[in-house]
Subunit: 401 residues, 2 copies
């Protein structure tokens, strides 16, 4: 698997665009993105588990249930969440406008939104955005689309790879946004993935679910789950590689590459987390099961006290042991061991005779590993998190005011 | 029920002391507390659910399993957590020192600690603290004891009440400490309650469990559960009121008063939360069950985004709706209503036409109510929380360094 250029337009048969429509009053930044497959494509998606779902989430879930899509239209600046029946009507009107502009059935147009919530979508400006995107669709439009879905992100996020297969080369491209649950208070993680392999909707959904479970579901900035979170993948078969069937080595190779792409995008989101100054990989081993390990990793990764210690560059094994201890997982605290990068700071339930300066040096790095060994079974898990900084508080205390 | 003065020494037959022993090197503040019942007393306790438990927690749990105690000795400045077998030995040595100084069996001496973890207890200085406390025990020593258990608390925390009963007056006193999980990363919520009613250990344990479930288990500053959290109640019967038996009205009256005392202490802890500038009562109604309501209230109360919005005085109903939505509780988002004090900001799943200035005015107050009505069944719950401020980050990022 090699990285290549192009983002979502790297796979064959995809075009994209990003245009400015002024969705957020007064803004002149790109805020409308369009990704189109030139050929019919299968689609799969994963969505927020929040009971409070934005209107576009319901729309995309219905499309994924059928399994065919030709395009994804997304806007930033307005999340179309908590907008009642009007919100649903606006989503289908948007899909119809895109379908008309492209000459495609509107029920194959995915629609996604991110931004402020509780505000009706400015449909006049959004429709202008649809028209502008349809006109500027290009084979090198991936970067513009990546830019158009940004909210408080400080950098656009895209990746593309090629995967050598026995009968040709598959490509996967992705763009994503999200650096916290922003805009007033929730906003969104969005990730759009394109690929030119041929694969039926159901196995594609299965591979996406696996990839998301090992990537976006293993990261956090602030642990607040948005109303709009959406990951979509379109597969259009334009690579010419025969259809990937479950059980084949090509299917496995594609699934593995898809998981890698999702993992890279998830890490990119954490690195650009709101106010983040650190990227921390939490590794848990020695648990009775992978589920137990994941619970401990999540507990440490989401602890406010651990995250402020990361920000303070404080080798505070006490907070790490404590957060592990309240994860709801049984383990023998007298066998607990903790490592900060390669510095063993805790072993057998007690601090080691480590050098404070070595531990502090590990944490001064912008990226480091926190490894917890529970001293039990073979279960393990990895989780990515950021620190909790003054900037996080500033960004989120002052967002609307 | 009337408030009276005296804290833990308000009930008859209790004396207390608080002395400085320099547990934390260089400190001259009071750091050793002793509470003694002049007569034999029953004891009940609730303890941290953290798998990683400090040595004193194991000690006190064993005493509560038997049900008889005469004294509580507590120190701040060192949590005696993650200290291995030495930690256990130090606890029993402390109990023996107290027992010897008071002429009481050491297995009836509760020992509690709070402060830095992973550091062996300085037993020479602690023993001096035991001696000093035993010498200065006094009927008005409650305030000194309250002061001695403080760590990052900005105010000592005590309360005492008298409860008129048919056959006399019962008194309950309490002291508590805790303003976050401090000292490197965990430290402690401690609450010691005294009462002069006569009640067997088992019903006392039941009443305490109920009181704690409705008070300390319904508050949060940062949602990190410490290794040392302990609530103890001693009942010595010195009021002369006949023994309270389950089912009697006196038993119910005492249980209710005990719950009120715990609730007041819990609120006091939240008000003094690390960096807290706001005290927020989360009220949830219209849930299918009280458990569901509690889960939603806890989700809102612990959301970093909601807590930063409280700090920013931002009437951000979006974050409130979002945190309710990911609580793991099913409800119809189209029936959700949200109120900030008396300003209805959200109804029927959408924002109302409220005046922004009214909502902002509610949140500028140091204490306010956030009420969420899920629009379903009769389940309800209350939870108390603070805001997430710059000072919280400063306090916790810089604690050890």
């Amino acid at each position: 698997m090699n990285q290549i250029k192009g983002g979502v337009t790297a796979p064959k048969g995809f075009r994209a665009a990003g245009e400015a429509a002024g969705i957020k009053p007064g803004s002149t930044k790109r805020d409308c993105a369009l990704i189109v497959s030139d050929a019919p494509a299968t689609v799969a998606g994963t969505f927020t588990a929040n009971v409070v779902k934005a209107a576009p989430v319901h729309w995309c879930r219905n499309i994924c249930a059928v399994g065919s899509a030709r395009a994804i239209f997304a806007n930033s600046g307005n999340a179309n969440a908590c907008t009642g029946k009007q919100g649903d009507d606006d989503v289908s009107a948007t899909a119809k406008a895109v379908g008309k502009a492209l000459g495609l059935p509107y029920k194959e147009i995915c629609v996604c939104s991110t931004g402020v919530i509780g505000v009706p979508m400015p449909m006049d400006r959004l429709t202008q955005g649809v028209t502008a995107c349809a006109q500027s669709l290009a084979q090198d439009g991936g970067a513009a689309a990546a830019e158009a879905i940004m909210t408080t992100d400080t950098v656009p996020k895209e990746i593309s790879v090629e995967v050598p297969m026995i009968k040709g080369t598959a490509r996967i491209g992705a763009i994503a946004k999200g650096s916290g649950m922003i805009a007033p208070g929730m906003a969104t993680m969005l990730c759009f993935i394109t690929t030119d392999v041929a694969i039926a909707a159901q196995p594609l959904q299965r591979l996406l679910r696996q990839a998301v479970d090992r990537s976006f579901n293993r990261m956090c900035v602030d642990n607040d789950m948005s109303t709009n979170d959406t990951v979509l993948v379109l597969a259009n078969g334009e690579s010419g590689i025969p259809t990937l069937g479950p059980g084949s080595s090509a299917y496995a190779a594609f699934g593995s590459a898809l998981a890698s792409v999702c993992e890279e995008m998830a890490k990119t989101l954490v690195r650009d987390g709101e106010g983040a100054t650190k990227f921390v990989e939490i590794q848990v081993s020695g648990a009775d099961s992978n589920e137990d390990a994941l619970a401990v990793a999540r507990s440490v990764a989401t602890s406010q006290l651990c995250k402020t210690a990361f920000f303070g560059q404080d080798p505070n094994w006490g907070r790490l042991a404590c957060a592990a201890g309240y994860a709801g997982v049984e383990f023998d605290p007298n066998r607990l061991a903790i490592r900060l990068d390669d510095v063993q700071v805790f072993d057998g339930g007690m601090p080691t005779a480590y050098e404070e300066k070595d531990a502090a040096a590990a944490m001064r790095k912008p990226e480091f590993v926190v490894a917890l060994d529970l001293g039990g079974g073979p279960g393990s898990a990895v989780f990515w998190t950021s620190d909790l900084s003054h900037d996080y508080v500033t960004i989120n205390a002052d967002y609307r005011t």
